[in-house]
């Protein structure tokens, strides 16, 4: 007779959950679930308006909760799996601000005569009668909103994860919706689907690397907790194999999301193929989340092994900057150019990470805030310059834009100057911070490489500006579409942030440096 014995624990210990500290994450994920309910229950005609309200409402509420987090709530919560600390909150705030701006661009419907930037049904066959019928009826794929919310929820979790398993979970919650969103473009759908496929396959590889690295570190430290791993690096010398393999694989997984060389191959294809509002969202918010997680992993969990990863990271940072700018010089498509520029910026950001100091941490966080907002604005402008078959991607069609629409060209020039790091824009303050932190940490040669890379990057940014203002418009000059209030607001926020963080950066620099250090 088989007897089913249930092991009776004396008392079960329940995890204590600090709901106030976790509120922003729960609000965004709750809004995402609400978005799925809306998809199920609200009729097609009203769906977009309701989704827009749920999305922006959810993100704004979460932002308020992040900003208003009382100091007493800070700490390692939820059984040690989440660290709600200064850097975590600063990064969550950055992600939410960037996401709100990006969602305003996603909501734009006036730019494309057929509707928003997304295919009426992402599943319909490209070029089929079914697709034309759906376009004619004005259908729209409102699942974009809950998917974006799930991605933002994953990002908020990613930057506060204090446990390798939660880190992996957050990575997947963040990435899976993005793979879908990348493949939903209304125009050039095959390119978009190709981008989604590449992003998915390479992203899965990166996730597997991250997971394998986590397993190795677990084997070494006997725990998934960042603090316990840090203790193991301090107290358990030896087992260099497990240490180095775990560290390398984990680093590879995170650097993939950050688009650092040699894990940058996906960036140009995905940035080009994805619907432009989503590209802005990815380039801005995902960058923040990826570097937020990278900072926490490297500073908290692997801080004791800094002597192991710092030399490699100096090299990766230098190579990333140089490869990014050289490839950006050679690209003739505006979205690809911005993608390679984002690779180069990953290199600059890595300087702050590898500095491994409080100054490096706050400089990287400030850089992420500045870069995220400028990038969302830049991609929003790219969306507005259109030819007959969608966006005018080729650089040559941007010639003479400064004469036909000076305001738009001026705004884009401002974003490009900020990305190049010209003084009085946010890019200068940000670059200055990470360079100073890197010099302080002894990285003179990488900073020399960074200055060279900046000089090269100025070439291709200024090339576009010269093209816009000093060249004659070609015969097939694209039209500049006047967007609705939504995109205008997003671009306006980006312009104000770019100028404010460049001219009066002190308040935000103080906020960033006041948010350090990480709690463990």
């Amino acid at each position: 007779m088989v007897h089913l014995a249930v092991p009776m624990a004396e008392t079960l210990t329940f995890p204590s959950l600090q709901y106030r500290a976790m509120a922003p994450i729960l609000i965004v994920l709750g809004a995402a679930v609400l978005g799925v309910v809306v998809e199920a229950l609200v009729p097609q005609a009203a769906r977009r308006a309701v989704q827009l309200a749920v999305t922006l409402g959810g993100l704004a509420t979460a932002l308020v909760f992040v900003v208003a987090t009382p100091g007493s709530e800070l700490g390692v919560v939820a059984g040690g799996t989440l660290a709600i600390d200064g850097p975590g909150l600063f990064l969550q705030m950055t992600i939410l601000v960037v996401a709100i701006a990006a969602m305003l661009v996603v909501a734009e419907r006036r730019v494309d005569p057929a509707g928003d930037a997304f295919a009426p049904r992402a599943s319909s066959l490209v070029g089929s009668g079914e697709e034309q019928e759906q376009t004619r009826r004005g259908w729209s794929q409102t699942e974009v909103w809950p998917l974006s919310l799930f991605a933002v929820g994953g990002m908020l979790l990613f930057v506060t994860a204090n446990d390798l398993l939660i880190l992996f979970l957050a990575l997947e919650v963040m990435s899976l919706p993005l793979y879908l969103l990348a493949g939903m473009a209304r125009r050039r759908r095959l390119l978009s689907q190709e981008a989604a496929m590449k992003y998915f396959l390479l992203g899965s590889f990166a996730s597997a690397f991250l997971l394998y690295g986590s397993a190795m570190l677990f084997g070494y430290a006997g725990s998934l907790d960042f603090a316990a791993i840090a203790d193991a690096f301090r107290d358990k010398p030896g087992q260099l194999g497990l240490q180095v393999i775990g560290l390398t694989l984990l680093g590879a997984g995170l650097l993939f999301k950050a688009a650092a060389v040699p894990f940058h191959m996906w960036a140009p294809d995905v940035y080009q193929g994805a619907p432009t509002p989503i590209t802005g969202f990815m380039a801005g918010a995902v960058k923040v989340a990826a570097f937020g997680a990278l900072l926490r992993v490297m500073y908290v969990a692997l801080g004791g092994a800094a002597w192991e990863w710092q030399p490699a990271f100096w090299v990766i940072a230098s190579v990333t900057m140089l490869v990014g700018v050289v490839l950006a010089v050679t690209s003739s498509d505006i979205k690809r150019m911005l993608a390679y520029s984002s690779v180069a910026h990953a290199g600059f950001l890595l300087l702050g990470v590898v500095a491994f100091s409080t100054a490096g941490l706050s400089a990287t966080m400030f850089y992420l805030l500045a870069y995220g907002l400028t990038t969302v604005g830049a991609f929003a402008v790219v969306m507005l310059v259109r030819g007959p078959s969608g966006e005018a991607g080729h650089l040559s069609s941007w010639a003479g834009l400064g004469r036909t629409s000076p305001v738009l060209a001026g705004v884009f020039a401002l974003f490009l100057l900020a990305l190049a790091g010209i003084p009085l824009t946010s890019g200068f303050t940000a670059k200055f911070g990470v360079f100073a932190a890197a010099i302080e940490a002894g990285g003179v040669w990488p900073v020399i490489a960074a200055v060279v890379a900046s000089a090269i990057s100025a070439f291709f940014y200024l090339k576009v500006i010269v093209l816009m203002f000093f060249a004659r418009p070609g015969p097939d000059a694209p039209a500049v579409v006047v967007p609705s209030l939504l995109t205008t607001t997003a671009i306006g926020v980006a312009v104000v942030a770019t100028l404010l963080l460049g001219v009066f950066p002190q308040a935000f620099l103080d906020l960033a440096s006041g948010s350090t250090p990480f709690l463990r």
């Binding site: 249930v6 009776m8 624990a9 079960l12 329940f14 679930v33 799925v36 309910v37 998809e39 199920a40 229950l41 599943s123 066959l125």
Partner: protein, 119 residues
Amino acid sequence: MNVYTPILVLGILAFGFALFSVVVAGITGPKRYNRARLDAYECGIQPTPQPMGGGRFPVKYYLVAMSFIIFDIELVFLYPWAVMVDDLGLFGLVAMLVFLTNLIVVYAYEWARGGLEWD
């Protein structure tokens, strides 16, 4: 090394049997090809032409499979909870309700948007 010998022998036997079966079937088996023989065996969907060349992969089958997996996973979580329901108390009940709510939301979405209609 001794402990691994049975595994090695088993591996060789398995490989040898597989090789033997394939070769012998090729030599002795009758070669009468017809429509039924080329069909998918007992289950699964009909193989379709390449998606690009016309003809599409029937998505409805995949939706049924997905739904099955979701409810399968649901049971995986429900059983241990049911066994330990007294010990888990209110905390377990609330956690389970949150989990079930999420599942119901997705189920409602699938139902309302026609995911359960076969044709």
